[in-house]
């Protein structure tokens, strides 16, 4: 049988054996193949009705009473506790709120203060999603530190007695490379510095193990693999042992020990609450809370196993279908170095992605030359993967991005 038929048959077999296949029905999807869940997760089917209840009843009818009666006030820590098991954290260490960028500032300034006097250097992943680098530069400026961009692999040999904090990405947003969180955290700790991790591209796609590996602080967004909706609030993890000393650069009234005391002097709340700032954006936040229910009964380990099977299979299909030499994978082959996406370098990648999207295969383009495909195990299947590779191959054979 032809290669196409053979891999299509294999896809059917893999789908038939997929214990997570039924989860797809929890999402609103169409006939296309959505491989951009690493940018904006698909809509969980039950979320619209829940948002309507928040708007019509909680806001429209209860109005101000909802801060207590609908649990608005405690949403940041309650939703943080819902995210906690997905990133290997015990309860009481995560609060939801603000954007990832804002949480990076909290974490890095907080980390420098935790590191204590005599340490005046912030190390940042030089391959990071840019906002982390920009905010790290700002945090360095605000705390009188030097900023030192390094590739993650260079970190163990470079950190030392000057290093206050190290900000690393668990999964590289562009290449999909998974960095060694346990090993790098240990190296940072060996130098006496504070380890801060950005989980945007790993949380919800693979086990993180924040508590197990002794991560100090972490941030992440919730609109990718956690499907919280466009711009849904980010989160901040502060390891329990550090919470009493965590000293935020954004001590808003929501993190006060007695928020409604309206006291002129700031006294920080205990625990993860210390990471809160101002009034939480309730509509976005409660949409996220509803969205997290799709994780009920789902193990992150099963998600990780399927994620690797999906990306393995995509790489196999691409190798078999796509004309030799037209694309080059930037994503590591080794499982321990791979996140949940595949990045293919390709000439004229922007135009190629436009043509893929026009054919229902939705990934994204990252300049200058990367086709990025995200594999969300909750709703992407193996037949989707085979079809995406087949359309990609056909598009490239037809002239790639040429009209």
């Amino acid at each position: 049988m032809s290669e196409t038929t053979e891999l299509a048959f294999k896809a059917r077999e893999l789908d038939a054996g997929d214990e997570l296949a039924g989860l797809r029905s929890r999402f609103v999807l169409d006939d296309g193949v959505y491989l951009d869940g690493n940018s904006l997760g698909a809509l969980p089917a039950h979320v619209p009705d829940r948002v309507q209840d928040v708007v019509r009843r909680q806001w429209g009818e209860l109005r101000i009473r909802s801060w207590e009666e609908s649990g608005w006030w405690t949403a940041p820590e309650r939703i943080g506790d819902r995210i906690a098991p997905l990133v290997g954290a015990a309860a009481g260490q995560i609060v939801v709120g603000d954007s990832t960028s804002v949480n990076v500032l909290k974490a890095l300034v907080g980390a420098v203060r935790l590191a204590g006097a005599g340490r005046d250097e912030i190390v940042v992943d030089a391959t990071t999603f840019p906002t982390d680098g920009y905010i790290a530069e700002s945090a360095a400026r605000l705390t009188g530190c030097a900023l030192r961009p390094l590739a993650p692999a260079e970190v163990p040999g470079a950190v030392g007695g000057r290093t206050a904090a190290v900000l690393l990405n668990h999964v590289d947003y562009r290449t999909g490379r998974l960095h060694d969180l346990p090993g790098l955290t240990a190296a940072v700790h060996a130098a006496g510095a504070v380890a801060v991790w950005d989980l945007c591209h790993s949380a919800g796609a693979l086990p993180v193990g924040l508590d197990e590996h002794g991560v100090d602080l972490a941030v992440g967004c919730t609109y990718k693999y956690l499907n919280g909706g466009p711009g849904s609030p980010a989160y901040l993890y502060v390891r329990r042992e550090l919470q009493d000393r965590f000293d935020s650069p954004l001590p808003g009234w929501n993190s006060h020990a007695e928020p409604f005391g309206m006291r002129p002097d700031y006294a920080p709340a205990q625990g993860a609450l210390r990471g809160r700032v101002g009034t939480p954006d309730i509509l976005s936040m409660l949409a996220l809370e509803a969205a997290l229910e799709v994780w009920d009964g789902v193990s992150v380990e099963a998600v990780r196993a399927k994620s690797l099977a999906l990306t393995d299979f995509f790489l196999e299909c691409v190798a078999r279908y796509v004309p030799a030499g037209t694309v080059q994978s930037l994503t590591p082959v080794a499982h321990e170095e791979r996140g949940s996406q595949v990045a293919l370098r390709c000439p004229d990648a922007g135009a190629v992605m436009e043509r893929l999207i026009a054919q229902g295969i939705v990934g994204d383009f990252r300049r200058p030359d990367v086709l990025r495909f995200g594999f969300t195990p909750l709703y992407v299947g193996f037949a989707d993967v085979e079809r995406a590779a087949e359309v990609l191959a056909r598009t490239l054979r037809a002239g790639g991005g040429d009209a």
Copy 2:
């Protein structure tokens, strides 16, 4: 006729002559009297359907394409321009996003940097809503400034060559006192310092005149008189002449000159965009955008005239109905010193407010002893005011907060 009958009659007359009375139908209200719009504005009736469209179609169907096709990416500046006329600002100077607290940090650190070398003092309104004071303290610490809390009336005599920035509230959240924005801004400028105003309790209730009075930076929330919904995003105003030099402590990728260039070095965008940070919370933000449509065809001057008539009438009803000596108004009698709320000091205020709410009169309680009533001219009428005062008087005569 009895006092009650007389004032009820007057209320009917005032309602009959109220050119804004028809706006009430734009909101979801019930049989009670909602005098807490200065904490959480009522739901505009058309907002639920708009939010559903954002969730079901824009997120659910278009998904990632909505960043362009549904105008998500440009929402912060587009909605800023919609708020601009309500606060007397020309377009291109306001962006929406983040909480008020986060925007206070941007504004104050930015203000210190604008003020330039040699100025090392931040003055903050000592009677401020507490979060402004906490964040001002943080901004001072991050920029190496001293923090000096002062009552607004003391500011003109106290600012000087050391003063970098002054953060003031346009309307005091507790007493409802309206501060002299033109005069105080002029005094701050006379000292060579940067004037930062918090508009949370004035925007949408009275004319602000940011451009006219030369305010440098301003922040405000959108969930009070602008009815954006619980925790809807705040906004930041940066006067056009200062934008090129505005240097944010939160230079996230959304404020980059080329956000999708993914460049390692930060280069700020031009204009108000420089106040953006991370990915905007689209659900909360687009609910706000829809909510702002209730302002179509409404003049802020007419709103202000009605607001003063409402608070005048409430004070009149309270004076006539409430037993002498049981309450004391903290809100100035002079129109030029009054915002859109009335604060009554009252023994056992917390319990009194609980009893009022149980009778459908919803205000709020501010410790230790304040009953706070907000008057939103878009949906509060004069009969509401008379009824609220009558129920308050009956409650106090019956023993106030006693069970």
